[in-house]
Symmetry: none
Subunit: 414 residues, 2 copies
């Protein structure tokens, strides 16, 4: 079953609102094993909508349209589709009753154009809209399924999940199940080279690598009769990938590095404090997005000035003078300083040049040192990051959290 989604509304083409409906519908269809091949947005214009619908009708089995069901003259979706299919529009009695009582309730007369909302193509069923006045439409036209839903996601989504998805999943036997593997420390092209043969042979499950902010995820997607069977199809491929590049694996599915670090701190019963310079508080911000972390995270020091590094972290002024604030030595003293002064088990530090100014030939923008200290060991990593100030901050903060993970997991020995 090939599906596609058409969003109707000039506000989408003006960039006033994002097309969240396409994402919501795609996810929901994917979960019941229906492939979505296209998304299209078109404005409130009958000719262009008609052309778009014609193309979709020729190539897809399921067409879901959103938007253009409202009361105004701009709302043309039902009119255009009925016209194309040569089906007259007729009032849906239940919708008409509902709108009548809606207005009676408010003591207002029904506006003429509200009648328009109750019209549906002959042979179609109305989908009740519990959060608005425009009903949806479900039509089986000689085996092609055409669905029309309102544009506002708050109205669209319940109608999709309560009526459309149950209807469509009855028609399909298969389910789709995805498993995401998350890697850090390996580039996208490196990873792809190591999995080249698997990717070349992929059929079921499919293997999709995706790079994002220094991480690479691999999504394995299987099609099967049910979830258990899908998991069985994924398992050997997942195992083979982990066998090859498992040393870079840090999590699965909706894991984030801050979530993993928080779990490790709880599991190993460790407390942590953070001393950061160029990241300016971002590392502590990320970690404190995890609720309950107050039991493990004691404090963060944003030591932006050299004076702050000295006063709050006991970094020697001599060290800064000799090696600079951005140096392995300073990172080391910062990590140790925040650990000792906080009395935590682990101290982590970040010092670097986020730019856009402040770089030199020896110490370019993007040079970042990340330090780790516990009672047994002190360790510093050197990084060169690309991109904007915000990018460099982001990469540095997540690298600091990854260093904590690797040290707790014993993946790095000094």
């Amino acid at each position: 079953m090939k599906a596609e989604i058409i969003a109707v509304g000039t506000e989408l083409l003006l960039g006033q609102i994002p097309n969240v409906n396409a994402q919501i519908i795609s996810k929901a269809l994917q979960e019941i094993g229906i492939d979505v091949y296209y998304h299209t947005c078109v404005g409130d214009n009958q000719d262009r909508l008609s052309d778009v619908f014609k193309t979709s009708f020729a190539r897809s089995d399921i067409i879901i349209l959103t938007g253009g069901l409202g009361p105004t003259k701009d709302d043309l979706t039902k009119e255009t589709v009925s016209n194309f299919l040569n089906l007259p529009l007729k009032a849906d009695e239940h919708s008409l009753d509902k709108i009548k009582s809606f207005f009676a309730h408010r003591g207002k007369p029904i506006a003429e154009n509200n009648y328009k909302q109750t019209l549906i193509p002959e042979g179609a069923s109305a989908i009740e809209n519990k959060n608005g006045t425009a009903p949806g439409v479900l039509l089986n036209n000689n085996g092609k399924i055409i669905v029309m839903l309102p544009g506002p996601p708050a109205e669209m989504e319940p109608m999709l999940k309560e009526v459309v998805i149950p209807y469509l999943s009855k028609m399909c036997n298969a389910t789709i199940f995805s498993r995401v593997l998350k890697f850090y420390g390996i580039g996208e092209s490196d990873l792809e080279e190591k999995l080249q043969d698997l990717i070349a042979q992929q059929t079921n499950p499919t293997i999709a690598p995706l790079a994002k902010m220094g991480e690479v995820t691999v999504r394995l997607t299987a099609k099967a009769k049910n979830r258990i069977e899908a998991q069985e199809i994924i398992k050997p491929v997942e195992d083979e990938i982990i066998k090859r590049i498992g040393s870079f694996l840090y999590g699965f599915d909706d894991d984030s590095i801050e979530k993993i670090v928080a779990q490790l701190l709880f599991n190993f019963n460790k407390t942590i404090s953070i001393a950061e310079s160029c990241t300016g508080g971002l590392t502590a911000h990320k970690l404190t997005n995890i609720h309950g972390i107050s039991q493990r995270f004691d404090r963060g020091i944003v030591s932006y000035s050299n004076r702050a590094k000295h006063e709050l972290l006991q970094v020697k002024l001599d060290t800064i003078r000799k090696y600079g604030a951005v140096s392995e030595q300073t990172a080391k003293e910062m990590a140790k300083g925040v650990r000792l002064s906080s009395g935590c088990d682990i101290g982590v530090s970040i010092t670097g040049i986020a730019g856009p100014d402040g770089g030199t030939h020896e110490k370019p923008v993007g040079l970042v040192y990340i330090g780790y200290s516990d009672s047994k060991t002190t360790y510093v990593e050197q990084h060169f990051f690309n991109g904007s100030r915000i990018n460099i901050k982001e990469r540095s903060a997540s690298s600091a959290l990854h260093l904590v993970r690797k040290m707790i997991q014993g993946l790095i020995s000094d």
Copy 2:
């Protein structure tokens, strides 16, 4: 000039990520008076992409494609477009040099598939990607403009704004010019009520209010022959709006509260330090996104534990015991403590309950105290914020920066 946008990537059709690029590009084109007629998403599949491109090529003057420029075999955009237009792909020398030095810098050999990224169709220009390795492409094919940009918005957006939009706006005569007024401390419906008559009468300029994270912006958009004429159309409406609700105005256009605070610190020659609890470093992170701020921002203390509040900020243990860590008194002592211990002119503090746990009947989730201290005055604001943990952190951090702004501007007297 008719434009359309094609986003390439199976992850979009699976609903894994939203198509934010289409919205960003549409907005930018609309601002220079170019109408966007269609958005399309298609997967990483050469046949379907080729079909989609063929349709677009027949009906539009400008086609902007995003995604599919990466190093992997799935990345097919350049290959498909060159194939359709019958243009061979050739390496762009500048991009090749850049990738070579990128890998040399890391002491790694260039992966074979990274060469692929440097290829562009004959006759096209490469668009430099400052935040990634895949360059973009700008091609004028007998008057049709074809642009290819990378999928990640952080790479795409700067290339769009710095190269593509300036190129396209040279080609158009009519200009659209927007002015954004930014308000804080007034709700969207309050604001709309105060501007009701202006909004009802709007033609040129249009007036579009938008609420976001405790702020409301009003975008005034004028269509004219040139920028000066557009500004003249906007001026009287802008003046009228400021006359009515100017006391809530804090900035214009791409101002952010952190940018405004940084400017005020420079203009008034003040230094600042931040003590934060529930925001966990986010306030310092926001402020340190402004480059050059190291001259004005000395340090941030993320005093998550009571011990940290006492040790680093000299908050009396008695105060915490008597009033609680989330209280006016603690906020006051935190702000004063961070100011005095850092020797800065201004100290600001945030303490609250970000949730989802930890709320009580007297002190619910979302209760946040924000403190301000300088040599003359100490001031505390009480807030109740709604929403998720992340939301409450965001609202608290920007409210803290707004308090600093209002205090420096003398808008609050103790």
